[in-house]
Amino acid sequence: MKARVYVTLKPSVFDPQGRVVADALVTLGYDDVKDVRQGKFFEVELGDSDPATAKARVTEMADKLLANPVIESYRVEVLQ
């Protein structure tokens, strides 16, 4: 079973990397770009378990390690 975790900086936290990417896109001629927020993406491969248990486990992992709740939020998706 696989789960996906998307980690992003909270809206209140300035994202210097995203800002630089946005500036680069505008320089490339994409001048309709207003802002970019950069995040992290994890694909976690798990042993056999039911989707509910898998979601709970991966949520715990995100909370404990994959994201820092002070500055980041996360979203967990379980794939069948």
Binding site: L9, S12, V13, F14, D15, P16, Q17, R19, V20, L65, L66, N68, V70, I71
Partner: protein, 233 residues
């Protein structure tokens, strides 16, 4: 007095810190591997600078789970003085021993330069020998030193006088022009509520002898010696 300096895989300032504690300050210093579970009779614990676990995931995020960190936390909970320098500060933040977090420097640059920091509070074990508002010249070298805390936490830090060092100019003025990384409120170092755990981004151990360009950092470790001596009196 004994300084225990924790070595994580990727720490690169552990020897400098141990050197400053032993050869410059004249106290005992021992390096402790992160897989150890015992601080070996430490009076003071230092988490040094570097790139623990390659800074993978987030700075300090993996180091926080090293076996030695349970002992560091227990030591801190008992009131033992703990100093986190640069990456060590980042580890303390990730471990929740200090509030807040680090994000990338606002100009996306790794900054390596001498800075002046202003001592804001002298009632911590690492500033006890400082004069109020004393200016210290020390180097910084980091990519993630942009201190962030949510507004309520930041307000609480200021209210409880937990901001210990701020970036300043040579005249002691604080402002955006002298803030090298975008840190909120020009924060260079903070302490916990109990004031025994201190973290700072600048490197006192790399400014402990004049031949290094500044000996101003010496007072940070000398403060710990003075603070512990006055406790045992």
């Amino acid at each position: 007095m004994k300084f225990s300096v924790v070595v994580f895989p990727g720490s690169n300032s552990a020897y400098d810190a141990a050197y400053a504690a032993s050869r410059v300050i004249g106290e005992q210093a021992e390096l402790i591997w992160h897989k150890d579970t015992d601080l070996k009779g430490a009076d003071v614990v230092i988490l040094p600078g570097g790139f623990a676990h390659g800074d993978y995931l987030r700075t300090g995020a993996i180091a926080r789970f090293s076996p030695i960190m349970s002992a560091v936390k227990a030591f801190a909970d008992r009131g033992g003085p703990v100093l986190g320098i640069c990456n060590g500060f980042q580890v303390l933040l990730e471990a929740g021993l200090l509030p807040g977090a680090m994000v990338r420097n606002d100009r996306i640059k790794f900054v390596s330069q001498m800075v002046s920091i202003r001592v804001e509070q002298t009632d911590t074990p690492f500033t006890a020998a400082c004069e109020p508002r004393q200016l210290l010249r020390m180097p910084i070298a980091h990519g993630e030193g942009n201190y962030y805390a949510p507004p309520d936490v930041l307000a609480e830090l200021e209210e409880n006088r937990q901001v210990i060092f701020r970036y300043a100019n040579a005249g002691g003025e604080v402002g955006a022009d002298w803030n090298p990384n975008g840190s909120l409120n020009s924060i260079a170092g903070i302490c916990n509520r109990q004031r025994n755990v201190v973290g700072l981004m600048p490197h006192p151990e790399r400014a402990s002898e004049l031949s290094l360009g500044s000996a101003d950092g010496r007072v940070v470790l000398a403060s710990a010696v003075q603070a512990l001596a006055s406790l045992s009196r």
